[in-house]
């Protein structure tokens, strides 16, 4: 079956141990993540090495730091591929980290061994996204929920069975369903079974990895309510991973927004939703369609383009390739939209993502050895410019762009890119914005303190 399932059971290794002391001192977080990195390597097989291929790092999680205090719910939100699930799995040590440190109740998780590790496995549990593949189809639900108790050798047989009955009842299933198999249950019920299994060892900390995204809304609401009740009843600490902003808003105390392996904004849920700072957070919030009748009239600023590849993330701020607020150089007189357009064209020239052969109408220009004949260059540049820009550019910028495109006529990609870089290089690509240490922090140059002088745009000029 699924690897999720194997991981869930193997995560609970087979030794009995005394519990970790989880009574953390006042104010100390239960979980502290520092600069956590997880890279996956491609082209890393023996054959690749023999052939001399360089391994490629997929930077799934790249330097993430946050804390989770006891009894709170931290939300981790982001689009698919941003590394939120990998973060959850790595901090539970279901994946070995590339770098960084995770402390659970003051102890480094990655240095735990033997009984300490077993104890950690009991204290930290996980509920997976897909209730269909995370339950063993050949086990009855009674066995599924009892398995953690068997593995950790908790109590006598009869006690275990009693505990399973209580758990099932607690998550809203009836005891007479003990002997049934997962396929007899609906998605919502299976997710309840997954939750009961996670609770069997009375953990302190639960990672909820998209617990409701496979469910219908009415069932999702049941499960969310259940999770809230359980938290209050058992003093649980949650890390909720979700792509659904409304779920995050509903259930979390604090939220971290992830983009391409990094946290771009973190803060208390109310503050972050009412007053989002990072342009990505703003765009994300604006993109969610509301279920109200004024939705059609609502103004939306949607993002263009796709998330770049984590194999080769953009320099500086990773969001700059889509950011509507990318910061122009200080002395440059340009309006934001034109600058955004220019930056997009720059990126395409840098990645050589323009086909020169197809410029103009029907083989108008013969590109031989990558060059256009001398006489055709002005026409070629004009045709290419029309294709790249919807609106005519202001005269000053028009000149610069023409110079760069003239280089392209001879396939001098690097020269073209260099011309544009000297004119238009942004602070967003030079410097990586740091995430501050405040309760509500944001990793964006618009709010930078050190780089303030480079910030040519007033953050408030962009409506939220």
């Amino acid at each position: 079956m699924s690897s999720d399932d194997n991981r869930a059971t193997s995560s609970a290794s087979a030794e009995l141990a005394t519990g970790i002391e989880t009574d953390t001192p006042e104010g100390e977080p239960l979980v502290r993540v520092e600069n956590l990195k997880k890279y996956f390597w491609e082209n890393d097989s023996l054959l690749d090495r023999l052939l001399g291929d360089e391994p490629v790092a997929v930077q799934a999680v790249d330097g993430v730091s946050f804390e989770i205090r006891e009894g709170e719910t931290l939300g981790l939100v982001g689009e698919s591929g941003c590394g939120k699930s990998t973060t959850g799995e790595t901090l539970l040590r279901l994946q070995e980290p590339t770098d960084g440190r995770v402390e659970f109740a003051g102890t480094n998780v990655y240095e735990m061994e033997g009984s300490d590790l077993t104890a950690f496995r009991r204290e930290a549990q996980v509920v997976f996204q897909d209730p269909f593949s995370s339950l063993d189809p050949r086990m009855t639900i009674g066995d599924i929920v009892q398995q953690p108790l068997d593995i950790h050798d908790v109590g006598a047989d009869e006690e275990r069975r009693e505990r399973v009955r209580n758990l099932l009842e607690r998550v809203g299933l009836s005891v007479d369903q003990l002997d049934r198999y997962p396929h007899e249950f609906s998605g919502g019920q299976r997710q309840r079974i997954g939750i009961a299994r996670a609770l069997a060892l009375e953990p302190e900390f639960l990672v909820l990895d998209e617990p409701t995204s496979a469910l219908d809304v009415s069932v999702q609401a049941q499960v969310l309510n259940l999770l809230e009740d359980l938290q209050a009843e058992f003093d649980l600490t949650y890390l909720l991973i979700s792509h659904d902003l409304s779920v995050i808003r509903h259930i979390c105390d604090r939220v971290a927004v992830m983009y391409l392996g990094e946290i771009v904004e973190i803060g208390p849920v109310e503050e972050l939703f009412e007053d989002p700072k990072h342009p990505y957070t703003k765009a994300l919030l604006e993109s969610v369609p509301r279920a109200t009748t004024d939705e059609r009239e609502r103004d939306r600023e949607t993002l263009a383009g796709d998330v770049p590849s984590p194999r080769d993330p953009p320099s500086g701020c990773r969001f700059r390739t889509r950011c509507p607020m990318v910061i122009p150089p200080e002395e440059l007189d340009i309006d934001q939209e034109t600058y955004r357009e220019l930056m997009t064209v720059r990126e395409r020239i840098e990645s050589r993502d323009i086909s020169l052969e197809t410029v103009g109408d029907d083989d108008q220009f013969s590109v031989e050895d990558g060059s256009v004949p001398e006489a055709d260059i002005p026409a070629f540049v004009a045709a290419l410019k029309r294709r790249l820009f919807d609106e005519p550019l202001p005269p000053h910028h028009d000149e610069i762009v023409e110079t760069a495109l003239t280089e392209l006529a001879a396939s001098n990609w690097e020269d073209a890119a260099a011309i544009l870089r000297t004119e238009y290089e942004s602070v967003c690509e030079r410097d990586h914005p740091g995430l501050g240490n405040n309760t509500h922090s944001v990793a964006c140059h618009l709010y930078g303190t050190a780089a303030d002088s480079d910030s040519a745009v007033d953050p408030n000029s962009w409506r939220g």
Binding site: F185, S186, D216, V217, A221, E270, L284, R300, T302
Partner: protein, 429 residues
């Protein structure tokens, strides 16, 4: 049928699936009226029959499914002329009943009159052909179909598709069908749906596209035949919110530009609010409430609509404890369905009258607002309410032998188990 505003009228549509477990009433005597140029939304949970409704309209029901009853009247004067001779009964004014004409005629409407976009763009494209070729193929098929609307023979006689070409196409599968004109049109279509550099992108394979771009490409493919009605089945469910916003904007723009009619199937009430003029809420194979967006979102009568809206966590502010609907989506197996309001067993306001299957009542609000609930005609009274455990364990399907007679502690199990039928109907892809 004089009201020329309608483009599609569905009467008494029943689609059933004949499975090993029994007959599944996926769509049950459904009525639908869609106006030309509007966006009509069908919203419901998984297994409510919304996708089957859409597929029934475009005649894409596969065995073991079958449209057993009903009429689908489509307004197309030209088509009416064409079929009048062969099937006079199937024509009423400019309307044609698609279920009474031959399947060849129905097929000829696919692409040109009806077109469909699916939920999962990754699995809807052939991974071994470039996106451009697949689009060009769609264009080519439409082009030939419109050139020879009645004859399938003429298509194969064309010199462009000689035996030599056929042989060549077996060696080079990509050479099949695609002519230069179709290719150019394919690139135009890619441009229309906002794919940057359509010329280059046309030569890329589906795996080189991102999910959002592929969904755009699928929309382009659906537009190849300039359809009158576009059926969008969960078009954004597989996408991230920022990409979802892009795709919805695109559909909106295309709709304004071409004036086509869109039948949008979704489970997301936010998407409905963003896109639709009128909306129908589906539950257990029936539309339980329909009307304009305002009718359904603000003046709803049906407790199911209420529950659906109450289940969504609000983005604007914490709305305390959610108010979910208890229980699960019901089984649609014929022998398990009773002749009563199908929602009664989950309904917080079930009354004695709910034991009769309710007709559609007119409700306050716009003319179009109807609701399949007795609450439209009477208000809820405690006196007539059904006892809380009325549907209790008696409702359990026969196959569940472990069911003990009763929960004597008086506490109702939060969910009654039922074998789900999700793999036999509904969301099958």
């Amino acid at each position: 049928m004089t009201d020329t505003d309608d483009i599609l009228r569905v009467n008494d549509l029943s689609t059933r699936f004949f499975t090993e477990q029994g007959q599944v009433n996926a769509v049950d005597e459904l009525e639908l009226r869609i106006e030309r140029g509007e966006v009509f939304g069908i919203v419901g949970e998984s297994g409510s029959g919304k996708s089957v409704t859409a597929r029934s309209v475009i005649d894409l029901i596969d065995a073991p499914g079958e449209i057993v009853d009903g009429e689908i009247w489509f307004d197309d004067a030209e088509l009416a002329e064409r079929v009048r001779e062969d099937a006079p009964d199937a024509v009423d004014g400019s309307f044609v009943d698609l279920l009474s004409v031959s399947s060849a005629v129905r097929q000829s409407l696919r692409g040109t009159s009806f077109s469909m976009i699916f939920q999962d763009p990754e699995s809807s494209f052939n991974p071994s052909l470039t996106v451009g070729e697949q689009l060009a193929e769609a264009v080519e098929v439409q082009r030939r179909a419109s050139a020879n609307p009645r004859s399938t023979k003429a298509k194969t006689d064309s010199a462009e598709y000689s035996f030599g070409n056929l042989l060549l196409s077996t060696v080079l599968p990509s050479q099949q069908f695609v002519t230069e004109e179709s290719r150019e049109r394919a690139i135009e279509l890619l441009e229309l749906v906002g794919i940057p550099d359509p010329v280059e992108r046309a030569d890329e394979y589906p795996h080189e596209y991102s999910g959002g771009m592929l969904q755009r490409a699928m929309i382009a493919q659906a537009l190849a035949g300039e359809p009158d009605v576009l059926i969008a089945d969960e078009p954004t469910t597989a996408l991230d919110v920022t990409i979802q916003a892009q795709i919805l904007d695109l559909l909106d723009d295309l709709q304004t530009e071409t004036g086509m009619t869109i039948l949008l199937i979704t489970h997301n009430l936010g998407v409905v609010a963003r896109m639709c003029d009128r909306v129908g809420v589906m539950y257990a194979g029936e539309i339980v409430e329909r009307g304009t967006l305002e009718d359904v979102f603000d003046d709803h009568v049906h407790p199911y609509t209420e529950g659906l809206l109450g289940s969504i966590p609000e983005l604007g502010g914490a709305n305390g404890q959610l108010e979910p609907i208890g229980g699960n989506v019901p089984s649609l197996l014929d022998h398990e369905m009773e002749d009563r309001c199908h929602f009664a067993d989950r309904c917080p306001m079930a009354m004695e009258d709910c034991l009769d299957h309710p007709p559609e009542f007119d409700a306050a609000g716009s003319e179009d607002h109807t609701v399949r609930c007795v609450l439209a005609t009477q208000s809820y009274t405690e006196r007539e309410a059904l006892p809380p455990n009325y549907f209790g364990d008696a409702e359990r399907p026969a196959g569940e032998k472990h069911a003990e007679p009763a929960h004597s502690d008086g506490e109702q199990p939060a969910e009654r188990t039922r074998t789900t039928i999700s793999d036999s109907g509904g969301e099958s892809r």
